[in-house]
């Protein structure tokens, strides 16, 4: 029952988007988000959308996967649309019924807001679809490296994240086993009130936590036995290096941002 939890939704592949340095992808995502929030008009939204579609095609990510990512956010998107639709009161009045008023600008603002949220989600998903969680952790560690000067435990945070990712499948397997074991003893997780069902989870959570702590203890010993002594003086098997394609990607990102800013200045 827990087997279908997928993590980070990574689609392994060999496309140019997959092969980009994960740091490039994080920085590009930030540029993309800034551009998206600067966009104000049809033209600029079009430009950002074009970029999104181009990257999706380059990464060979099926459009279905992108729309699937939007589904859980549907309620939120509709809520935003409705709010903007009724609360913008400029332009020409199109409808006036009871307490509801719809103005022409309301429709446009609502549409832009919906587009903005959807494109924001799609952009983020695009990064997690094309980058393995471990590469992302690695990139975050490298990007946040300057924060070490401010005594932020960057290496420790990254190590914690990657160990958490490593142990998720193991713990899921363990949870499955505990559930089966408790069911075999007659535990009932599927019937009764919400309160009852929540209480039924206690015999699953207690052994799970106990075993997780035991694992953590053993793992710590094993890591020490393999000479782990923090991030100091540590080297890496795979060193992240910017390649030609990363500079091209940065150039494209800069052009996108410049384009949006120019369009904004021109008032288009």
């Amino acid at each position: 029952m827990l087997k279908d939890i997928t993590l980070g939704q990574f689609f392994p592949g060999k496309s140019i988007v997959h092969r980009l340095d994960p740091r490039t992808k994080i920085l590009l995502l930030i540029i993309y988000i800034v551009a998206l929030f600067l966009a104000k008009s049809w033209c600029s939204y079009g430009l950002v959308l074009l970029f999104l579609i181009a990257v999706t095609c380059l990464g060979r990510i099926p459009f279905k996967a992108m729309t699937r990512g939007l589904k859980p956010m549907l309620v939120f998107i509709i809520f935003t649309a409705v709010l903007n639709l009724f609360y913008t009161k400029s332009g020409t009045k199109l409808l006036d019924w009871w307490i509801f008023e719809i103005w022409s600008d309301g429709i446009i603002t609502a549409f832009f807001m919906v587009m903005r949220i959807m494109m924001l989600i799609c952009g983020t998903f695009l990064m997690t679809y094309t980058t393995s969680p471990i590469a992302l952790t690695d990139a975050l560690e490298r990007l946040m490296n300057p924060l070490k000067k401010l005594h932020v435990p960057v290496h420790e945070l990254a190590m914690m994240m990657s160990i958490a990712l490593r142990f998720i499948p193991t713990l899921i397997e363990e949870t499955d086993k505990i559930i089966s074991a408790q069911k075999a003893r007659g535990a009932d997780f599927e019937t009764g009130s919400l309160m009852r069902r929540a209480k039924a989870l206690i015999p699953i959570l207690v052994p799970l936590f106990v075993s997780a702590f035991r694992r953590a203890d053993e793992l710590a010993t094993a890591m020490e036995c393999r000479c782990y002594h923090g991030g100091e003086g540590r080297t890496r098997l795979k060193v992240l290096r910017y390649a030609g394609r990363d500079w091209v990607a940065f150039l494209v990102g800069a052009l996108l941002l410049a384009g949006v800013i120019v369009l904004r200045r021109l008032g288009l």
Binding site: S132, P133, I134, S162, I163, L165, R166, P169, T170, E173, R215, E218, L219, T221, A222, M223, E224, C225, R226, C227, Y228, H229, G233, R234, T235, R236, L237, K238, V239
Partner: protein, 284 residues
Amino acid sequence: MTPIIQTEKLSFTYPASEGRLALPVFENLDLEIAEGSFTAIIGPNGCGKSTLAKHFNAVLLPSGGKVWVSGMDTSDEELLLEIRRQIGMVFQNPDNQIVANVVEEDVAFAPENLGVPSPEIRKRVDDALKTVGMYEYREHAPHLLSGGQKQRIAIAGVLAMQPRCIVLDEPTAMLDPRGRDEVVSTITQLNREQGITVVLITHHMREAVHADRIIVMHKGGILTDGSPRKVFSQVELLRKAGLDVPQTTDLLYSLRNAGWDLPLEALTVEECAEAIAAAIQIEN
């Protein structure tokens, strides 16, 4: 030649904790492990064999006496990394000693910690994976592998430190018979072909047979110590300590008690069969 591991009057007591008295595990233990040897340490549960193993690479420090690793005192904190690099440690549960999401990243963990340059790490990882026969799996996720394969990855992870000695603490206890064979043959091959000192802690007599020296521990002391033939022929002593003997020895022992004139020193099935055949011929 200095032994790779030497304990001198080693004593260890688990400190008293709430509701529990201080528990001495062993006292005045003297032990030497020769470089290049394959030593098995056997003993019933709770005899202190895992605690002893943890003293070999300074995971635990002695409460009394000394432990020397190639002449280095394990209580010297300056030498900690070098001691741990020389004495690799493999534990029982393969899941709890694999750190990374990808096999090769995990094997690279120790050399990364030691600050080995990247090209050299790549070479060490590839060599270690080839040695344990897991090279084709280098890009796999460890949680999808079998227990025996995971344990071999753990061994490769230790090999990448280029240790002089590997201590394995019941590495096969959680494996199925096939995984057990994979691990034991890997260990034996490491000892024979690469000359790495192996200390195998186990309670499977069948695995101890591969060693060239067996140390039997009982109640925190050494009960007997010697070659597998010598140790396993002391059937009564082992039984008293609550230990099994290999099936072949068991059979020969029963036959001897029934009045047959048989040696007790046959370890493999073939040797045992030959000994019985010879005895039958004499009888006829």
